[in-house]
C-alpha cells in the first residue's frame, strides 16, 4: 500500500541524500489524485455560477472544438501542471481559466506581453 497522505519536506530544497525514493515518489504524485486522502466531513453545498465561470467553460470547450487543444491536454494542464498549492488554492473554474490563458501562450497564439497588455486594458475599462 502506498502512503496516501502528503508530507511536507523537513527542509526547503533539501540535500539530495535527504530524499528517499519514497519521498521522491511523494513529490512526483500528481496533484489531482486525491482519492482516499483523509478529510473531515463538511457541509455539502450548491453554488450559483459566476458569469466568468460560465464563459470560461464555454471558451475551453470552443478552443477544443476548433482544435487548439484536446480535453486530455486541458485536464493535464489544469489538474496537474498547475502544481499542488494552486491546485487546492484556486477555485474550480479558476483552474480552467488559467489553463485557457496558458495554452494561448504555450502554443504561441499570443505572446505573454500581448496577454499582459490585454489584461491591463480590460482592467482600465472598469476604472
Amino acid at each position: 500500500m502506498t502512503e496516501r497522505n502528503r508530507q511536507k519536506p523537513a527542509k526547503d530544497a533539501p540535500y539530495p541524500d535527504l530524499i528517499t525514493n519514497e519521498r521522491f515518489r511523494e513529490c512526483m504524485r500528481t496533484p489531482h489524485d486525491v482519492g482516499g486522502e483523509d478529510d473531515v466531513p463538511m457541509q455539502w453545498e450548491e453554488k450559483e455560477e459566476e458569469v466568468w465561470e460560465h464563459n470560461t467553460f464555454v471558451t475551453c470547450e470552443v478552443l477544443a472544438w476548433r482544435g487548439v487543444w484536446n480535453a486530455e491536454e486541458r485536464r493535464r494542464r489544469q489538474n496537474v501542471d498547475l502544481g499542488n498549492s494552486n491546485y487546492l488554492a484556486i477555485p474550480y473554474y479558476g483552474r480552467w481559466l488559467l489553463t485557457a490563458a496558458r495554452i494561448l501562450v504555450d502554443k504561441q497564439h499570443v505572446t505573454l506581453t500581448e496577454l499582459i497588455e490585454k489584461m491591463d486594458e480590460v482592467k482600465k475599462r472598469y476604472e
Partner: protein, 120 residues
C-alpha cells in the same frame, strides 16, 4: 483556424464521436471479461489517470469498454497508438486494509488502459 483544425484528432471524430473514432486501432485485447488483473505500480511522471489507490491491487475485468490512446499520451496530443480500455471491479477490502469486514461486499469500479495491467 483551418490549419489547427486539420492537425487535430477532433477532425477524425467528426460525425463519429470520441472514443468511437479509435475503434479497431488497438488490435487484439490481452484480457477478457472475468480476467483477474493486477494494476502495475509504474513510475509517476508528469501525468496519469491511474489512481494511486489502485496500484498493486487485484481487480476483475467486467467489460472491454472502448479503444483509445492512453491519457498519458493524449495529454500531449499524441494519438498514434490506441489500447483497449477495461472496466475493472476492485473489492474495497483489497484497496483499504482497514475497510470494515461487515461491508466486505463493497466494491469500486473504474477504467484503465491495457498498459497499466498485468495478469494476476
Amino acid at each position: 483556424m483551418s490549419e489547427i483544425h486539420e492537425k487535430h484528432h477532433a477532425k477524425r471524430a467528426t460525425g463519429i464521436g470520441d472514443p468511437q473514432c479509435f475503434k479497431g486501432e488497438a488490435g487484439k485485447a490481452k484480457f477478457k471479461v472475468g480476467s483477474k488483473v493486477r494494476v502495475r505500480d509504474l513510475p509517476d511522471v508528469f501525468y496519469t489517470r491511474c489512481q494511486l489507490y489502485t496500484r498493486g491491487a487485484i481487480a476483475t475485468v467486467t467489460e472491454l469498454v472502448y479503444e483509445s490512446p492512453p491519457p498519458e499520451d493524449e495529454a500531449w496530443d499524441n494519438v498514434d497508438r490506441s489500447e483497449w480500455f477495461y472496466s475493472l471491479v476492485f473489492r474495497q477490502k483489497d484497496l483499504w486494509p482497514e475497510y470494515p469486514d461487515a461491508y466486505a461486499n463493497d466494491t469500486v469500479e473504474t477504467e484503465l488502459p491495457e498498459f497499466w495491467l498485468e495478469p494476476a
